[in-house]
Amino acid sequence: MIWLWIRFPLLFLVAVVMQTTVSKWIRIFDIGPDFIIIFIVLIALRRGPVVGALWGFFAGFALDVYAPVEWLGAHTISMVVLGFAVGQLEERFLTLNLGMKIGVLGLGFFICDIVYYLAVGFERGIVFNLLLTQTLPESLYTMVCGGVAFKFLFEGNLKNKHV
């Protein structure tokens, strides 16, 4: 029972540790994966939009605390939207294979970044530029890492265990 309660906080902690350590070590041309987004997508697919949006809120706020104070709330908004949007594809109602889950992760990454850029208030030209030069390569890298995470976590211990 305790395991069920601490499972997601523990996963979140692992995601934060990986984001602040591993992500830095495996950067290629200043492009790195986003483990926090992998975590939100994973949670939302497992537990639906409510839990997805809630964890999106907490994770987004955690990111916001370390971002420039003027941008406070932008990560929170984008992550809540991500958690809720991906949660609509909750696997209790839909059966997604690994490829589709990775596709959802990539799409979610784009949605999250677009909402974030708009929430921060970047100009349209800069948003388009950022989407091409940053979001696209980072989403691809995140999809690769997410694929590995989904393979182990969805088909491993967490499979078919709903609270």
């Binding site: 602040t20 939009p49 949006a53 406070l72 709330g73 908004i77």
Partner: protein, 274 residues
């Protein structure tokens, strides 16, 4: 208690979580639209209560991995420094004579506090990090932060035992710089929260590979701290100015230790900050 749980579950299930989503989004928008003072207070409270201890643990893990690599680098650096020390001793004697000669004013004669980076922004825009020194160690807001390689940023917020450092790549940090060779003054800012760009007069003759240092204007950073090199030059909308891509001397995401110069802002900046 059971009724409350059932009530909350019922609300959560309405419209497949739409109510919860709208509530959380509303909360997030309120935070986003809040006044800067309120935002500062939210961030400070969050940092001092939960995030600082967690980040200390995360930082220790990162530190452990970095130690072995750092050890190798330090050995090589040690050998190199021994040779340089010999040269420096001779140079110091010469410098001492020259100081007396030109009555050189040592502008960097400020106490230095060494600090360890204990918290980083986990997001993709690294614009701030947390150091393990604060008011108890004599730090104040707006004090310059630098590393062995050059300027890092300035202190943006100070608590008793930790402080936030606003990095050069923060779009909200703009500073006056000087090109070392031509002595021309320019203006440095961050582009997209990631790259550095400087605006320098066209006729100054600045070329790629030239070094930028702080100009000492602006009242926060002392003159002469190295910032970066000119990587590329672009035309700007103004005929008389050029945009330059600046390559900083250090990778901000890899910084582990920094130095804080206990230099308070000049009186005019202090007046403006009041």
């Amino acid at each position: 208690m059971f009724k409350i749980t059932r009530f909350l579950k019922a609300i959560a299930s309405i419209g497949h979580g739409l109510v919860v989503f709208i509530f959380l989004l509303f909360l997030a928008v309120i935070i986003r639209k809040a006044d800067v003072m309120v935002k500062n207070s939210i961030v400070t409270t969050a940092l001092s209560t939960i995030f600082y201890p967690v980040q200390s643990v995360v930082s220790s893990i990162d530190d452990f991995y970095g130690k072995s690599i750092e050890n190798e680098q330090l050995k090589r650096e040690n050998a190199k420094l021994r040779v340089e020390l010999f040269r420096a001793k001779e140079g110091l004697q010469e410098l001492s004579r020259l100081h007396k000669l030109v009555r050189f004013e040592n502008q960097w004669d400020y106490p230095i506090v060494t600090a360890r980076v204990v918290g980083r922004n986990p997001g993709r825009f690294l614009t701030t990090f947390i150091i393990n020194r604060g008011k108890n160690h004599g730090l104040k807001e707006e004090m310059p932060v630098f590393s062995m390689r050059g300027l890092v940023g300035k202190i943006s917020k100070v608590e008793w035992n930790h402080a936030s450092v606003q990095l050069l790549v923060d779009p909200n940090l703009k500073l006056s710089v000087m090109e070392k060779r031509t002595r021309v003054i320019g203006f440095l800012e961050s582009v997209k929260g990631r790259n550095l760009s400087a605006m320098i007069p066209t006729n100054a003759g600045v070329k790629t590979g030239d070094t930028l240092i702080t100009s000492g204007l602006g009242g926060i950073f002392p003159k002469g701290i190295e910032v970066g090199v000119v990587d590329d030059i672009h035309k700007s909308d103004l005929e008389v100015m050029r945009y330059m891509d600046i390559l900083p001397f250090q990778e901000f995401s890899l910084l582990e230790e920094v130095f804080v110069m206990q230099k308070e802002p000049d009186w005019i900046v202090r007046e403006m900050l009041k």
